[in-house]
Amino acid sequence: MGTWQLVRAGFRQQSQYRLAMVAGLATNCVFGFIRASVLLAALDASTGAFAGYTRESLAAYVWISQALLGAVLLMVPTTAVGERIKTGDIAVDFLRPVSLLAGHLWMALGRGLFTLLPRGVPAVVVGTLTVGWFLPGGVAPYLLGAVSVVLAVAGSYLGAHCVALAGFWLVETRGLNALYGIVATFLAGLFVPVDLFPGWLRGLAALTPFPTFLQYPVDVLSGRVVGLDAWSHLATQAGWLLGMLLLAQLLATLGRRHLEVQGG
């Protein structure tokens, strides 16, 4: 089965639950309103530089990150792989002609990209209607931004995938999953942009792949980071992606050796 068919299958799977999409969009918007209120009030109350953010760039940050939320897997990093490891169905996946990783990654990419249409685009529209126009001019931010978003969707899936693979050893990954979800969300810059963190915390975030899941694509897509800096963002994202790909492969190989499935 071709890669393209897997992506399309993920795309179509996600398109079936229309009401859930509408509801997801509604919650994205409500969260966007709350976050925009809090951050804009903080900007008004701030006497410092506020990391160079203006009302426009802060609004762009809030609404573009809300738009990406459904596509990027952060807050609730549940994956089908985790469930299949727990039930033992994973043994069947190992026998398929498609590698475990490729099968799930391409589907996840399809699902994520579909989610951008009904949840991402309207969230940006709602944002521009309520706080004014914040999208960048020119073509470059959109082209580079598209690449950055694809890297972020794939990268965030791989992160969750690796957590799920820990299930080969832990069996119950619920605790780890919840912890990953909250730490990743925080360090990705969902609630407060990473650039507003105090220095040591920003340093800590830079040691993880999480900012490349959200802060980076938002920076590139909103035109806050342009030119050579934008390319460097993309390179960092690609680097983490590659690292996580290798980790996922390694975990799958080791896990397969460790796996014991009972029954006949």
């Binding site: 309103f33 709350i34 209120s37």
Partner: protein, 272 residues
């Protein structure tokens, strides 16, 4: 007669919960990890608030010390509601798999069965984070009238928990239509808990009306904090409104009841 069945129900509930508690505590490592994780989740949420205050001294008229009270109250209430009814977020799984049919066949209300089927003990440490924030907040703030503060804190802890529990039920009731909306249940309840832990004075009119009246999240943490500190409060959300928290809880329960009943009737079975 009625009394004996009532007592029998209670005994049954105690037996079920007792078995669930023993079951959760028997896998020691897993249970300890769960407890530690829930604690860390609370700490990270507090850190999110703190990061905003690393940029500003006062947000929406409240200092970080004051926001600790808002955070503490809303977190204790949310985590307690989560402990008691939070497992309702499993409903979509039952609906998708069709196993919900079994619940319909038993001679007990569906909601009662689902609520009493589990208790999420791992939320205990999350409540602990809220208690730490609340006690910390009470000790660093200037409290003009301690008796009034104690009364409003007690009111908030009881009825604030009811408000959040009702929201869990409302979100679960929506699942009968959404089916694949587990993420939504979480975002709706977590969204209102997020709104509850912010100073509501930063909101515009629409948000103030939404989280002040429609989904009364501001009643849980923000309004009681104003009373504790003796502050007047912004337009649309005066401090005295905090004493109307029982009414807000009643309103939440009414909405939850309507949505849940409609949902239960909407379900048509998975066949089989």
């Amino acid at each position: 007669m009625a009394e004996t069945t009532w007592r029998a129900d209670l005994t049954a509930y105690r037996a079920v919960l007792g078995s669930r508690v023993r079951a959760q505590a028997s896998y020691r490592t897993s249970f300890a990890t769960d407890l530690a994780t829930a604690f860390l989740v609370g700490v990270v949420e507090l850190a999110e608030t703190w990061v905003v205050f690393s940029q500003v001294d006062v947000l929406g008229g409240l200092s970080f010390a004051a926001v600790l009270l808002v955070f503490g109250l809303s977190n204790i209430c949310f985590a307690t509601a989560d402990l008691v009814v939070g497992h309702l977020d499993r409903l979509p799984r039952y609906i998708q798999a069709g196993t919900i049919d079994v619940f319909y066949l038993r001679p007990q209300p569906l909601l009662a069965q689902l609520v009493t089927s589990e208790i999420s003990l791992r939320r205990l440490t999350r409540i602990g984070v809220g208690v730490i924030a609340l006690v910390w907040g009470l000790s660093v703030n200037d409290v003009p009238d301690p008796a009034r503060a104690a009364a409003v804190v007690a009111l908030s802890l009881v009825f604030g928990t009811v408000v959040f529990a009702a929201q869990f039920v409302t979100a679960a009731g929506c699942q009968f239509w959404l089916v694949n909306g587990a993420e939504l249940t979480n975002s709706f309840t977590y969204g209102s808990s997020y709104a509850a832990s912010q100073p509501a004075s930063v909101f515009g009119t629409v948000l103030k009306l939404t989280f002040g009246y429609l989904v009364p999240a501001a009643f849980v943490g923000y309004l009681p904090t104003l009373v504790v500190l003796g502050l007047p409060g912004p337009s649309l959300l005066p401090a005295w409104l905090a004493w109307c928290l029982p009414l807000a809880a009643l309103w939440s329960c009414l909405v939850a009841g309507l949505v849940w009943r409609a949902g239960v009737r909407h379900y048509q079975g998975a066949g089989g």
